[in-house]
Symmetry: C2
Subunit: 213 residues, 2 copies
């Protein structure tokens, strides 16, 4: 790594880059190197490969910068920095959102301790000979009378009311009676938009609501 003549460094790097970039006139053919036959310039084997790699990486950085909304600086490092903070922000948001959603779903759901109530209710119903039942009858053109007997489970009634509301069913007159093991629900209902409610359809809807939710 040493050699005596002076100033070797001052020329080499500058001249080298100039030579390769501008196609300098000196074209001596070295033995150990590859040279382009047309321009007679020296070319490293992986020059274009490296060039592609660089521009690939740069383009990815630009893409990354494109989808990250918060911009502090256009530096390469800060681009990644912003991306990191953005990802962390997104992760937090996803976590809080899913947590909120889960909470919201859990609020009207049965919890573990209520399953004991469910079992008790089922046993009570069984012991008392109460059968689950869904009846639907027509009152007039757009009004139905429904009667539902189901196991008494925590939140089941409010969930049923909510489901009926979501399906556009309006409660004209509703009665809920609770025995130890069962709900007895009777109600006069009609469609909120004035459309006709079919008996069989409504009965199946009610059964679906009860069984599903």
């Amino acid at each position: 790594m040493e050699y005596e003549d002076e100033d070797w460094l001052c020329v080499t790097m500058e001249e080298f880059s100039l030579a390769t970039e501008n196609g300098c006139s000196r074209q001596g053919m070295g033995k150990k190197r590859n040279y382009d036959d047309d321009t007679r310039e020296f070319k490293s084997k992986n020059l274009e490969t490296e060039r592609r790699r660089r521009e690939k990486l740069s383009s990815r950085l630009l893409m990354l910068r494109a989808i990250v909304p918060i911009i502090t600086n256009m530096n390469k490092a800060t681009i990644i920095d912003d991306a990191i903070t953005y990802i962390e922000k997104l992760q937090d948001k996803v976590q809080s959102l899913s947590q909120e959603l889960h909470q919201m779903e859990a609020t009207s759901d049965e919890t573990a301790d209520t399953k004991i109530d469910d079992i008790d209710s089922a046993e009570d119903m069984k012991n008392l000979g109460i059968q689950e039942e869904v009846s639907v009858a027509q009152i007039d053109g757009n009004k139905l009378w429904i009667k539902i007997i189901i196991e008494k489970r925590r939140g089941r009634f409010s969930k049923l009311m909510e489901a009926l509301d979501n399906f556009g069913i309006e409660l004209i007159d509703t009665n809920l009676t609770t025995t130890k093991g069962a709900f007895l629900i009777t109600s006069c209902i009609q469609d909120k938009d004035g459309e006709r409610l079919e008996i069989q359809q409504t009965k199946h809807l009610l059964q679906d609501i009860i069984n599903d939710k």
Copy 2:
């Protein structure tokens, strides 16, 4: 890749880096260059700065790789690639979650067209001289009888039922009657956990539920 006279290129770059790295003894002092006075090596002005910049960027890339869960390759480019896809995935997730949450909130909320109903209901109530009312009375140790008269608004009853359920209040016997402009709700309630329900507290709770939600 050829040059006639000297092999200047073959030596320069290689020797250069080796010289600078290993501290070669050759110390020809150039005029235009900065040299370390001790080792007599050539040093570019921004050598260490650039070195710091590089290691900074590399560390950021490592941090980025650290928080991105999906790993396809350890390449610098693919790290950014994975980060991009991960960010897109996170964005999609956030969007779908917030949409779902918004939908869930909207299902039991009043929509724009129902406000007309609300106004009509309010006018009907006003015309009929119906006053909103919340009454609470004690039945026995842990049972209360409540009576609520409120404007008839879409989803208000089911929301009330849900709120009571969330507050651990069990509906023993409930009756809902709908006139054109108002809900009349009467119910016998008790605490689900057997705790005592205070009259004033319950009344305020009901008023809060009605006014808030």
